[in-house]
Symmetry: C2
Subunit: 220 residues, 2 copies
């Protein structure tokens, strides 16, 4: 049996290296132009099923989308991936981008500097707000996940923090042939080979090129 | 008849956005680790023929390599792509990385701050040293090229200068699934959509994914 992993999956990156566009707000969860990053996953059967729709395409993109959701026991999200609210929570009205029944169906640990009580949602998702940084979030996620994997969902700043700390075991990127021009740069100043990462696999999907990075054993 | 274009072709970029590794020197023309960027072109029949070798692979990578050399009447190179010598030329002994018969076979305009007489080589290549910047280099290249295209060969800094000035008509990148970790970042701070560029085509080769950018007419 393999031990639980800390994974990033299906994280979309533009040709010019951005994992999100600029100027995130309530109408632009992935920043201006950022939805173009995700256009490979929307047509898949896996994504359609998350929205409780029938049908959708099968193929390589769909297979990778399905793998991205398999065997997960907990998620970790940055504050901005949870929502556009900044600073102290004005009240408990913001409950994420995903409506009453978010697609996580397990505990989700949200990094924030501002405490807030846990937020149980329909379908098994419980948002926990972690104020002591990525190590505490990972420890709590490990406890919650048991023998399942932990997925670091994003955004860019959160993934970069985890990579810099060498805490990601596998990173699956979906490279999209689009230009954003501005936004949150995933790789800038991040020396991934020095951090022990190497390219493990490349798979060409219908609308994205999927590249998986793995942390090589010599550096652990 | 289409009018002559200013093209970048077959310019290789790592997954983390580098067009060259760090620490270029005489033994590492593309910087440390930089040769990995080029490993898609070495096996092609087109590349092998440039080295006067028989054989080599045919396929998509080879087709794009061949297109990259077609219809060229002049090249423009940055100083570092011509050689590792910095500052004033100590003498005329450095004649490029390519030996007595470089693979250009036409006029090549080398950007430099330090004047030097033209350098004719075997096989029709003549290196001209241009000290007044990219506009003068382009003007002289246009005169020399006649109705053929001009290729801006690199390196990263030179291509970025031409892009920022909106002077590149077509940019063909060969995306390689390798990590460099450090080096010369092609896209950093360059807002290509704002400069009028868009993705025109994506073709999957054997060892690289080829993406072509084009400057859209609305901005000319």
């Amino acid at each position: 049996m393999t031990s639980p992993k800390v994974r990033v999956n299906a994280f979309s990156v533009s040709l010019d290296g951005y994992g999100a566009g600029p100027r995130q707000d309530q109408d632009n969860p992935i920043g201006s132009g950022g939805l173009a990053l995700m256009e490979w996953i929307f047509p898949t059967r896996t994504w359609q099923a998350l929205q409780y729709h029938e049908g959708g395409e099968t193929g390589t993109d769909d297979r990778l989308a399905a793998e991205s959701l398999a065997d997960l026991g907990a998620w970790i999200l940055g504050r901005n991936m949870f929502g556009p609210v900044r600073g102290p929570w004005p009240d408990d009205s913001w409950k994420g981008w995903w409506g009453e029944e978010p697609p996580y169906h397990c505990p989700v640990f949200v990094l924030t500097h501002h405490a807030r009580p846990p937020l149980p949602m329909k379908g098994g998702t419980v948002f926990h707000f972690v104020t002591d940084g990525i190590s505490e979030a990972l420890e709590r996620a490990r406890e919650a996940a048991g023998d399942k994997d932990i997925r670091v969902g994003g955004g860019v700043a959160t993934i970069r923090q985890f990579l810099q700390a060498g805490l990601i075991d596998e990173l699956h990127l979906a490279l999209r042939p689009v230009l954003l021009g501005q936004g949150e740069a995933l790789f800038a100043g991040l020396d991934l080979p020095a951090l022990g990462y190497e390219v493990a696999r490349q798979v060409r999907g219908e609308r994205a090129t999927h590249v998986s990075l793995r942390r090589s054993p010599r550096t652990t």
